[in-house]
Amino acid sequence: MSSKTSKVALTRDDGKRLDGRADDELRPISIEAHVLNDADGSALVIWGKNKVVAGVFGPRECVPRHDQSPYRAVLRCRYNMAPFCSLEEHGRSGPSRRSQELSKVISEAFENVVIAESYPKTAIDVYIDILQSDGGTRCAALTAAAVALADAGIPMKDMLSAVAVGKVEGRLVLDLSKEEDNFGQSDNPMAFASRNGEVLLYQMDGLLTREEVKAGIEMGHKASREVLKLQLDALARVYEQPHETTVPLQLAPGQKFAPPQPA
């Protein structure tokens, strides 16, 4: 995924990144909660060009029975990419190995925050669909899933916010774009609990020094607080501006959904 030397120049002459951002700047993000009618909870996250929808069902009967736990609800998360999500070719159907790995680490992040003991023998199902991908989909997916779980009223100890840090041409940068992910020197996605900043997801590849690891965590945690604000704002707006349930997939990143005013 990352290489030692960039095949593509990732810094402009003015020192900014290819898309004009500063090193510690997030891409524009839109979050809308409660976008699906049937799901118990749902969310749309538009993060740069990424477009991700999450839907939650549960607590509900756990089938197959052998998946059930007598002590707690079983949390089942599935990350799945649509075949039309990429700029490049049409994707194959079925979960790739990458999707399966992501499903696992995402499930485990939420197992920490969801209070599952209240609902033994049930399942809480979280489905995250990547409808458009442009680097950093797993962070968008985690962020969307957290909002969908809160929207569903699933009791949680914490909210969870995710962001990726990376290294490009020797510098730590926040929220890698697709090119930076492909041609940069490290990709370091992470997710934080809202109450105390504990790390719920942490992965990296490439090469980082110890100082870079530390600085990366600080940069990531700070940015995750900004993401948290957007998540909470999305949830609040469900109640402050009730409107028809719809997926406003056409929103530009950073734009908020403006429901048509009732007559």
Binding site: L36, N37, D38, A39, S42, K49, K51, V53, A54, G55, F57, R60, E61, R78, N80, A82, P83, F84, C85, S86, L87, E88, E89, H90, S93, G94, D125, Y127, I128, D129, L131, Q132, S133, D134, T245, T246, V247, L249, Q250
Partner: protein, 259 residues
């Protein structure tokens, strides 16, 4: 357990219909509100999100280069898939496509293919073995009944908005456009549901639980181009002809939604 709930819903449905009413107050041949959002996605070459009442169906169209079918080497490839995403309904499970998903994809495919709205021969490229391939993928985001009609509308709108990438040196240059796909005729479908002897159009998810059978009829302005009967109920021969007439009539309203 959910079967019992379905039985209860079935009773409610039959009860209401015997009083000549539908739960949302619609007439037997009224569609719910239709709204189509064009090209909400930028990575796909074409896309559309169809809202039909509370049903939300997304269609993404990708254009690739592919080897043609061996029996039609001078024609482009058209392929349609459908995903009943588990977030779309409490009745959808993750896993390989169910028979219902496969049926949906194949019926939408037949509607598009039979209508010849896409000139497949124009997708072949001179001097190349490979041809252009159009991949239509339906993605059910929110199931409140009548996935057939919502999918057909989403697919048609996505095709209408599809930009063809430029082909140069036997490769696709996705960042440059060679113009729009420009499908020739608008294809729409009407789905009729049968409850005992009554026929309803555009069933919701709740109504769906109480119906015995469905007939989906896809039309162009001049022709019927695909039909699918599903469910165990029988339709009389007269029913079928009546419903074809109804489809032509309703199609006018549906095609307006595509504009």
């Amino acid at each position: 357990m959910s079967e019992i709930q379905d039985e209860l819903k079935r009773d409610v449905l039959r009860n209401m219909l015997s009083q000549g009413r539908r739960a949302d107050g619609r007439g037997n041949f009224d569609y719910r509100a239709i709204q189509i959002v064009k090209n909400p996605l930028q990575n796909a070459e074409g896309s559309a999100l169809c809202h039909l009442g509370k049903t939300q169906v997304l269609c993404g169209v990708k254009v690739d280069l592919a080897m043609p079918f061996s029996d039609r080497p001078d024609e482009g490839v058209l392929s349609t898939g459908a995903e009943f995403s588990p977030l779309g309904s409490h009745t959808f499970e993750p896993g390989p496509p169910s028979r219902a998903a496969i049926e949906l994809a194949r019926v939408v495919d037949r509607g598009i293919r039979s209508s010849e709205t896409i000139d497949l021969k124009a997708l072949a490229i001179e001097g190349m073995d490979k041809v252009q391939a159009i991949y239509i993928d339906l993605w059910i985001l929110d199931h409140d009944g009548n996935l057939f009609d919502a999918s057909m509308l989403a697919a048609m709108a996505a095709l209408q908005g599809t930009r063809m990438p430029k082909v140069e040196d036997k490769k696709l240059i996705r960042t440059e456009s060679a113009g729009m796909l420009n499908p020739k005729v608008p294809v729409v479908s009407c789905t009729f549901a049968k409850v005992d002897e009554r026929i309803l159009i555009d069933p919701t998810m709740d109504e769906h639980k109480g119906i015995d059978g469905q007939l989906t009829i896809a039309t162009t302005p001049e022709h019927v181009c695909a039909v699918q009967k599903s469910g165990w109920a029988a339709f009389s021969q007269k029913d079928i002809l009546d419903l074809v007439d109804q489809s032509f009539s309703k199609a006018v309203e549906l095609r307006r939604a595509l504009d």
